[in-house]
Each structure stands twice: as C-alpha cells, then as structure tokens.
Symmetry: C2
Subunit: 657 residues, 2 copies
C-alpha cells in the first residue's frame, strides 16, 4: 500500500478506536483524537524515537499529550505501536482498574510520560523535560559519546494556549533556546463553549515568535506538510518550535465535525456509523485494527528498538571508557542518591539565632556539590529564598551545565518545569514565598498525583515576614498544602529541624515535599532524629497537665509559655510538630507517646489558619492561630497585635487545666 494510503488508514484507525472507545465507555472526548489523527500518525511513524517494549529507555523521545482529554488518541497510538496495552484495555476505557483512564496517568500506562488533563500542564512540563535533556547532554555527552540526544514532542490544544502557565513556561523555553522541543498545536477553532472566536482571537504564532520560538502554520490534515514542518522544526536547533496545525475537530463526522459537540461526548451509534461510512470504514466494525496499520506503526517501533540496541551498545562503551561519569549517569537513571548523602547534611550549633531559610541555604551549600541530581532555582526570589548554593552555576541560554535556574516571576511555570525535571531523573527544587504557592498549586497537585520527588522551598512563611503585609503573609496555605495527598509539608522550628526537613524531602523518592521556612531568625535547638518523625516531645514536664503543640517559629512561643506556666506551678509538655502528615503516619505507639489520648488539655499554636490543628487538639482543646489576614508592620508588632504570643498560649492552657 502506498505511504499516503497507509497514513490515511492509520489515522482512520486512530479515529475509529477513539469513537468506539468513547462510545463503549459512554463518556469521553472523541473530537480531538479524530482531528489530530493525521498529525499524530506522521509524528509516530516518521519521527518519534521509541522502543515499545522498553518504555523507560532513557534516550527515547518524550511525547506529551498536553491535551489529555484526547487520551484515546494516545491509547490508540500506544496500542498500535506495540506497547503493552492490549485492545481489551482500550475496550475498558474509563473503567475501574483499566490502564486507560479518562485522562492519561503516568505510572499506570506504559508510554504515558506524564499525567495530563489540567490544561497547560503538559506543554509546560514538557519544557522541563526538554530542559532536562539539554542538561543531561551537557553533563554526559563527550566527543564520540553522544549518550543523550532526544526530542520532546507535545500535542497541545487551544486550552493549553489560553492557560497562563503556558505563557510562563513557553516564554522561558524561548529564552533558554530549547531547540529540541517541538509543540504541535491542534488549532481546531473549537472549545467547549463553541467556536474559539467566542473568547480567543490572539495570533498564537506571533505570540510564540515574540517568545523567540520558531513558528510554522500547516494544514493538519496534509500529512506531507506536517512531515515537512516537523522536519523543519527539528532542523532548527537553537529555538523551540511551534507548529500550528489547522485541523477539524471530529474529522470525518458528517454532523459533528467542527462543532463543540464533537469535543466531549460520545458521537452516538448512528453518527459513528455515518462517520465510518464517510471514512470508508466498515460501518459495523468496532475496535477494528487493519493488519497493515499494525505493521505500519510496527515499522517505526522496529526502528526505535534498533536504535535502542545501538544506544545500549554505546552505553556499554561509555561505561567502559568513562566509568566515573557513568556512575553519575546511573543516579539520574535510577533516581537514587549517592550512598551516605545524609551524612553530608549539616547540623547547627546553638550559638546564635538563624532564619530557617538561611539554614536551608546552608544545607544546599553542603548538598549541591555532592548530589549530582540536585538542581533548582527560584521564581525571582533568589536572595530571599536562599536557594542558590555557593557552588551553584546558572543554567543559561546555550549553557546547560549548571544546576541553578532563574525561573523569572513564573511560579506556575516553575512548578511544571520542576515536574518535568523530576520525570527526567533530577531531584529538583524551586523557591518562592509560601503565599505564592497559591500561584503554582496546579503543578504542585500534579507532582503529588504523579508522586514525583520535587522539593518546594517556601520561605516567608507567616506574618513573621512583617512589613510586606497581608498580600504576602500566608494564612490558609499551610492547611491547603497539608490537605493534598502525597505531599508532605515540613515547617521546621529551627536550623536543625530544617536539616531534618531536607533529609525527609530528599529521602522521599516518591512524592513532593514542601519546606516551609521563616524570614526571621529563630533560636537553635539541639538536633534530634525524632524530628524525622514529624512530631515529638521537645520539652517534657513531670506530671504535665497540658500539652502545647507548636510548629515552626511558633514552637518558641510554646516553649516560652511553658516557662510562664511552670512559674505558676503548671507543668506542661511541649511538642514540636514540623509535619502533621508525617506524625500521623507514625505507628500508634509513637503517636500515643507524644500525644497521649488521655490528655485532652491541648493547645496548638501556629501563625496560620486554625483548621489544620482543630483535629489535633480535639473538642476540649484550643488553637492559638490566625483566622484572619495579617497586617503590614514590623513582625514582632504584628505577632503581638494579632494575639500570637507566649502569654496567649499560656492563657489558653491555663483555661484548660
């Protein structure tokens, strides 16, 4: 069969699989797969470097379906290309326990590089993947040893283009000149509300050109044009590429093509029949895969598998000739840290007070030189977040050997790029003020959902930041982050707990960690391994009548209150709880040893929303917290005026005993 006819047949197979899958599930999004089937066919058959039986082959091209609602397109491609995704899985689309959920989920389905669905995340995370490739190439490629050399391809939708995160990440991609990133934009003129002309009239290619991208426009149903465009995109090595593919959503459906009804609901049995007829397909066949199509995609898979074989041979040569580099490379491939890394984490003598953000900076000073996979940056708050280690070198346009990122004032884009770096073997970290965790929550959630080991360095963690006032003083953020599954929040009370927090964070190979750090200096307590458990007794009292529980800077209010109460003859225990979630996952014996259920006189103190702590103190306890916004003034005054004082904590305890 001629290439043209084969391509048409392959694209129509993808279309009919999508229609059939969505129809059988009675929910889903057929329109996008039908519209982008031609483009995807060209990409997978002509360009994408992949080895379906080795979905984790390190030097594979990355393909990100940013428009995750079009998941049936991806499942069809993976199935046809020979990934371990049998046709029965496609028939179980969107059913419990299948590997074909409504939106692609990383870790569940081989070949799915990341979880997508929330628009804008895919294209932005792809920037992180493409950045990681350049960084690995800079680290590991040597003359005659090109061990890292792959592309990152994205299919993105109108929604991806409208979302602000795409602006942040793509502007940075243009700045850095990530030439091996190729975005295929499904320019189909339709969104859920109707024609995109309802709300969307920007010139997308002009916008990306303004970011420094290489841009093209093609007819997305003209396979030769698409092929030429992708080839031109690959040829442009110094700039990321955008190919705007004009397509027709629901392509082939006589009554749904080019309508928003094609987007998010089954076509219905009658329309599917009509569409199949129009596509020259057996009208009654379902989940039909012509042998030629399997062979067609199999050929590309075969090429990729052969390339993998050659790469493995190159890797063997690399290991033989460059054993030290290879050992470093293995850290990226395995996601592990060098033996004995924990011993490098400093401890701090209790000489003079230190802000926990500064302690965090000291930990990074110690770890960055010895942990090759550790790389991070800040959303333009480097001097405030203390994220740049003394030894760090900036990643710059054309210079990818460094470990430090200047993300610009782009928190959400930073979050997505961190996800991409983590998916590509880095242990990434990123800093901003805690209050601006709000701006990046969408990408934090995806890190949690994908269980990626991203570390967030959130400084200026309370009213303790003082004069910048309520716009910058977090209140509800701690509770919001603590409620997020798989995310561990760690708010250390001093420099040594900060070191413990970094040990917790880097010790977690699966799942992100938020370190929540002060602007202001705090006294330093003796280091203890108990801090790794999230909650422990920091100062006990014989026959204690109440328990004071503090996190972060407020632990010191609890300790001061303990003294006030002791002077009155009221012995109280003080518990430090840098991480509520960690504490709650300790065994019952530990929890009972710290917070005996029999002691109901409990006072928690934290300069943040009380909702985090009402469950810990119970119906008989009290939370000294902040259920209002802060205020602009020197921080000591704000604490005092808003009732966050040792005296208030002592008074609360006195009331209970």
């Amino acid at each position: 069969m001629a290439e043209d006819a084969l391509r048409r047949l392959a694209a129509n197979t993808l279309r009919t699989l999508a229609m059939d899958g969505v129809q059988k599930a009675n929910s889903g999004h057929p329109g996008m797969p039908m519209g982008m089937a031609d483009v995807a066919t060209v990409l997978f058959s002509r360009f994408l470097k992949f080895s379906p039986k080795s979905p984790s082959w390190p030097d594979r091209d990355r393909f990100v379906l940013s428009a995750g609602h079009g998941s049936m397109l991806l499942y069809g491609l993976l199935h046809l290309s020979g990934y371990d995704l049998p046709l029965d899985e496609l028939k179980a689309f969107r059913q419990w326990g299948s590997r074909t959920p409504g939106h692609p989920e990383h870790g569940l389905t081989p070949g799915v590089e990341m979880t997508t669905g929330p628009l804008g995340q895919g294209i932005s995370t792809a920037v992180g993947l493409a950045l990681a490739e350049r960084m690995l190439a800079a680290r590991f490629n040597r003359p005659g040893h090109e061990i890292v050399d792959h592309h990152t391809y994205v299919i993105a939708s109108d929604g991806d283009m409208m979302e602000g995160i795409s602006h942040e990440a793509c502007a940075l991609a243009g700045h850095l000149g990530l030439g091996k990133l190729v975005v295929l934009y499904d320019d189909n003129h339709i969104s859920i509300d109707g024609p995109t002309s309802l709300s969307f009239s920007e010139d997308v290619t002009a916008r990306f050109a303004a970011y420094g991208w290489h841009v093209q426009r093609v007819d997305g149903h003209d396979s030769d044009a698409v092929e030429a465009a992708i080839a031109a995109a690959k040829a442009e090595g110094g700039k990321p590429s955008l190919v705007a593919c004009r397509t027709h959503i629901g392509f082939g459906s006589p009554n749904r093509q080019d309508t928003s009804k094609a987007h998010g609901e089954p076509l219905g049995a009658d329309e599917i029949r009509l569409t199949k007829e129009k596509l020259g397909w057996p009208a009654d066949a379902q989940f039909l895969v012509p042998d030629e199509v399997r062979a067609f995609f199999g050929e590309a898979a075969g090429r990729g598998t052969a390339e993998e074989g050659m790469w493995n041979a190159r890797l063997s040569a690399y290991r033989a000739e460059l054993p030290d580099l290879a050992a470093q490379l293995d850290l990226f491939l395995s996601g592990s840290l060098p033996e004995g890394w924990e011993a490098r984490v400093p401890s701090f003598p209790a000489d003079k007070p230190l802000a926990t953000r500064q302690a965090s900076g000291a930990v990074l000073d110690a770890l960055v030189p010895v942990l090759p996979t550790l790389a991070g940056g800040s959303a333009d708050l480097t001097p405030s977040n203390n994220t740049r280690a003394k030894s760090a070198v900036d990643v710059k346009p054309g210079e990818f050997g460094g470990t430090y990122f200047r993300f610009g004032i782009r928190e959400h884009g930073m979050g997505a790029i961190l996800n991409g770096l983590a998916l590509h073997g880095f242990r990434p970290f990123g800093g901003t003020f805690l209050v601006f965790s709000d701006y990046m929550k969408g990408s934090i959630r995806l890190a949690a959902l994908m269980e990626q080991p991203v570390v967030y360095v959130f400084t200026h963690d309370s009213i303790g930041l003082g004069e910048d006032g309520p716009t910058h003083q977090p209140v509800e953020q701690l509770t919001a982050l603590r409620a997020t599954p798989h995310l561990v929040v760690y708010r250390p009370a001093d420099a040594n707990e900060t070191a413990a927090g970094w040990r917790v964070a880097l010790g977690r190979a699966h799942g992100p960690t938020a370190l929540v750090l002060t602007r202001q200096a705090l006294p330093i307590l003796p280091p203890t391994e108990a801090a790794l458990r999230g909650g422990y007794v920091v100062s006990d009292a014989e026959g204690f009548k109440a328990i004071l529980i503090g996190s972060g800077s407020e632990l010191h209010l609890a300790l001061a209150a303990q003294k006030l109460l002791a002077a009155e003859g009221i012995p109280v225990r003080v518990v430090s709880m840098p991480s509520l979630e960690l504490f709650l996952t300790q065994d019952e014996a530990w929890r009972e040893s710290v917070l005996p259920l029999g002691c109901r006189a409990r006072v928690a103190v934290e300069a943040a929303a009380t909702l985090s702590w009402t469950g810990i103190v119970g119906l008989d306890g009290t939370v000294v917290g902040l259920d209002r916004f802060g205020a602009s003034a020197p921080f000591q005054i704000v604490y005092e005026k808003l009732g966050l004082t040792a005296e208030a904590v002592a008074a609360a305890a006195r009331n209970l005993v």
Copy 2:
C-alpha cells in the same frame, strides 16, 4: 516655573518621598517609584481624571498600581494630589495602624482602587474594571446623557508581564477590544535576581500586538514622549493600549540605579544624600514637598473636581429624565440588590433527583432577569457549570450590553476580572470545575482580602464526576478554600440547599462565596431556612446515640446510614453542614442545639480530604473521607471502591457507640 522644570521637580518629589519613606521604615521598595516617577507625573498631572475629596466619584478614571511593591509612588501621588493622606502617614510607611501599608490596600487608603502586590493581579483586575466601564456605558449612556466615560490606567512591571495571569486577562482584553484600558509598562530591565536578561527575553510589545493591543515604546524619562504616547493610547478607542516605558530603576541614585539592589531595600542614608545631591535636592531635607509641586498636582485635582461637579449636574439631569435607568444605576453605585430579591429565588419540589449544578442554573434563570448587577460566565465550561441563564446575552467585542462572559480557558484571569467587576459595582460570578479553583486561587485570595462579593460556581465537586478521573476529581480543594479568611464555602446537599447557598452568597455584600456543586443528580429535601445557618439537624432521632454529619452529596450517605443503624436499633441524628464556616459563626446556642458538646460519637462524611472535619468530630469521632486521589470509573463504582458508602458511615458510627 516652566512645565518641564515643574515636571522634573514633581517627579523628584515623588522620588525623594519614596526614598525617605523606605529609609524611615527601614524596609520597602524605592527603585520602582524612582524609575516611574516621570511617567506617573505625566499621568496624574495631564490625564488622570480624579477628585481627591471624592475618591468614590463613580466616573473617575481608575488607576491601578499593579506593581504594588512600588506603593510609595502611589502614596506620594495621593498625598500630593490632595487625597486625605497626610504627610504623617507617609512617614508611618509600613507601620501598624498606618494607611500606608507595605502594599496598597483597598478600603484602607482613599484613592487605592484595589489591593496589589501579588504580581499580575493588578493588570488583570484592571481588565475587569475596564470591562465594567464598557458594560455600564452600554447600559446607561443615552444620547445627550454620557454618564459613564472613564479610563482605566495601570502601571505594570516586568513581573506582571511574566506572570501567566497577565497572559490570560490581556489576551481577553485584546479580544474584547477594551479601548479605554491603558497599561504603562515599567520596562526597567531589572528584577530581584538581577537583570531581567537572566530569564526574560520576550518581545513584550510583539506579544501584546499578537493579542490585538495597540502598542508603543517610549523613553520613560522623556515626559513629552510619555505624554504623546498616552494621548495616542487614548485616541485608540477600539484596542487596549500598552506603552512600554523604558526606565531606569532607582533613577538618580549614583550607585544603585539600574541594579537589583535598588528594588527592594532602603538606599541607606549615605546613598540617599548622594542621590538627592544628584537630583539637585537639598541633601538633608526629608519628606520635603515644594509648594510648587503641591500646586502643580493641585491643578489637576482642581480640573478633576470641576469635572466631578459637571458630572453631578449631568447625573441630576439623568435622574430627572431617565428615572428608571437612574434607579438601576443606583444599584451599581450602592452595591445593593433590589428590594425583595430573595423571594425570586426558587424552591424545588421533591419530585425527581437533580444535580445541584442544575439547581444552580435554575436559580440563575430566575435571578439574572431581575438583578441588574448580576453578571457572570464560565472558563469555557458553560454547559457543565450551568452558569448561563436562559435570558442571558453574551458580552462580545464591541457589544457590552450583555451579562454573560465567555472567559475562555483562563481561570486565573477570570478570577481577577471578576474582582474588577465587583470593584466596579457588579455582583459577578464565574464558573469552573472545583479542582480548577487551584488555578485561580491567587485571585480568590484577593477577593477575600478586599472583601468583594464575588460568587464562584464550582461544579464537578468530587469523585462524583466519575470517569474524568483523578486529574479532575478534587480532594483537597474544599479544605483549602475553607481555610481562607472572609471566603464562605457552601456545598449544598440538594436543590433547595443550592437555593439557600445562592441566598447566602448574594446576601453577602462583603466577601466572596464559593458554591460547590455536583455533577451527579441528588434527591431533593424539603426547603428550610435553617440551611442559611450553614449547619442544622436534617433528621433527628429520639435518644440519638451518635451524630452523622454530611455535606453535599454525602449527606445522602449519612441519611442512608441512619436507616441502616435504625434497623439495628441504633438511633442517630443526621446533621447537614453545607457550610462549616457559616455554622461556626452561629451563636453558641445554635451550635449546641445541632452538635451538643456532650455527644462525642460523631461521624462526618465528605468525599474529600478529612482535614476539614477532624475538628468537628473531635478525638473520639471518625471522618469518612478521602485522603488519596480518586480514580477514573463510573462514579458509583468510584464511591464504592474508595469506601464512601452508607455502610462505611454506619460501620464508623457502630464502632463509636
């Protein structure tokens, strides 16, 4: 004194006030005020229409300092222009109780149109202000009665340009052709990390041109050029305007100009002295305001005050000739709702199950035609959010008479635009899926901080959305929103509680409300006024041994569990709690009547993070919730597999009694 010399003197007054204010506070941001002083002087003296003794004059131009960290520039301008902001307030910059907080706060300082500081919010909210102006003009202007005619001016920074929210809002502003929006971009090449070239190389004017904006570049220290550019921007009526003003941060400071050190810290006494010398200023003078400068700005204020007088005369004529329209206009000016509006809220007979999102749609069908200030839209989820009332008319480019917005897939931009609409007299609402409240949290927080009456319509509120899977199933969002001060979260259990939720939301003139609604149908319960209290007994039992507390769809699990337990001879009370925050603000008698402190056998059930409810059930109770991500499958199966069942609730209660 010649105009040129006066302008220089005025700008230098702003510069020295900023230097002195920051130095006295020993914290703050002098660089931006010093850089933009020339531009701001031209704007305030030549263009801005304002009446300092009537800061709420409805037809004033709006000025938004999007780069809120440059607050001393604004305070200087307000002081010099004759607003009620004495010099002593500028001397109390960033101190407790002053009207000059670190970042401008709406409601605290006359002339501050909105709270700014979190970057991107100002420029994006300004889009809402400019949109509101067009909408009011379309509603109220009549031939010979131009009662609404003002501009919205913004000073924005590099950070505003980098933030994704600016992309979302400005793309929509270009689409809608908001010709009376003028953005003065402080193109100073410096951010906190250093030169913007570290991370920022986009062509900002090309990007805005791609959005359909009118763009210009000028030397921001050439007052004549700035004046000509603003005049040209005003002359362009069909497009919003961006004027990129090349400025020098810290202008005049011999050692700090054009450095990041000028941005966010005091210059220091020595450098201030050097700077003053260079500016031809008395080196030892502090907070010095030359009389000529006060007179210079006073002249502009005088013009504005005269315009206000003429406008008041026009308003009188308007009231006389167009009394019905004037009555409607008063609703916008007062922020109140028409008498008796609550009677228009429908109640629902208990015939067949209805999704609460559909009930919300029915409420909007009833209210949109009778509440002139009610206007809203959706971030491209109109058919899912049920936000478009049957009578609604779309707002379109050049057609601003409608009440419905097609926001596009731009949640964060939507949030900011809603804030702008609220600040300009509307009662705005906006819809998206609950999980994407994450994307707009930054603007939700500002609505809360500014206590604006914005209503969020968050549908698809749990695993009850089914097949779309974990990327779309919220878990932690309810807790995150509940922890936010001034925000009320209302998650109704049926159609009638949905109606109550709308009454709560619209009844709140100060502060936003989030309505959290199901995709799936729910049985309908009898309407009750008790639902306005946030928590009430929905089904009691004589001698109850436990209390089951449910919100939203899970109330029905509690009711079913009650039946299961009754069959075993265990009487339990069922409490509906659509709004934890509302319930907790009821008087103690009500709270005790619903949840008697003596009853410790409490089970809360909600298909979301348990953290919201641990405090309500206490140390002896149980929460049946979801501390993991969801899964893709038909929703009944997801509920069952994840343990959200009546049997699980009954079992939890059984364990407690």
